[in-house]
């Protein structure tokens, strides 16, 4: 493990690319990772079941 000099870019935090800030934010990722399957798999799936017609 190597020694690095104190980063000169500490004051440039605001220049971090948007995608990198997304990937550095575990809670935003947590929200996305739960919302996606909750909507597309669970909610949509339950709607499919609920709308199955009753047998004639």
């Amino acid at each position: 493990m190597t020694e690095t000099s104190k980063s000169p870019d500490e004051n440039q935090e605001e220049h971090i690319p948007a995608m990198q800030s997304l990937l550095d934010n575990p809670f935003l990722l947590l929200f996305l990772g739960v919302a996606m399957p909750a909507v597309f798999y669970i909610v949509w799936g339950i709607m499919e079941i609920v709308t199955i017609p009753v047998a004639p």
Partner: protein, 178 residues
Amino acid sequence: MTSFMPPADRFWWKVPVGRQEIVWILIALTWCLIMFFMMPYWHIYGKQNLSNEAYQTTPAKFGAKVQEGIDQNKVGEEAGLPIIHPPAGSDVYMLARLWQWWPILELEKNKTYRLHLSSMDWQHGFSVQPININMQVVPGYEMVLTVTPDQAGEYGVVCNEYCGIGHHTMVGKIYVKE
């Protein structure tokens, strides 16, 4: 040694990606899209698809329809189970229960039938062997398969969803006549 250390570059997102990775990602993405489009393609051009036609039902309601089918189309018996020979193109009802597929079907080759399946009790698996067609049979739901047996012969209907101690004795029959 960096997989367990922070990236060397503070702005690692801006580090250019090597040509090898880009080429591989493009090849892999192409393959993924081909696989994706195969499913809609098969819905249009393929012959083995599910219509997903289904109804909410109850064991009593579905059982009555099965009995009606037996009353109208019964042609014989085998091992205590009725054999029915429904007219081509008609609605055919078959139920799953511990541990039977009821009744036995006699179908004609290359004729199309609307096969209705449901369970009277637990979940079962409708597995036609040796042709190897497999469906989930769920209590409370009536599934409709539009099926055209195109090979004559004797087929076993094996239950392939675990349904208790007698699971392995749950075998039904479908005869496909020339």
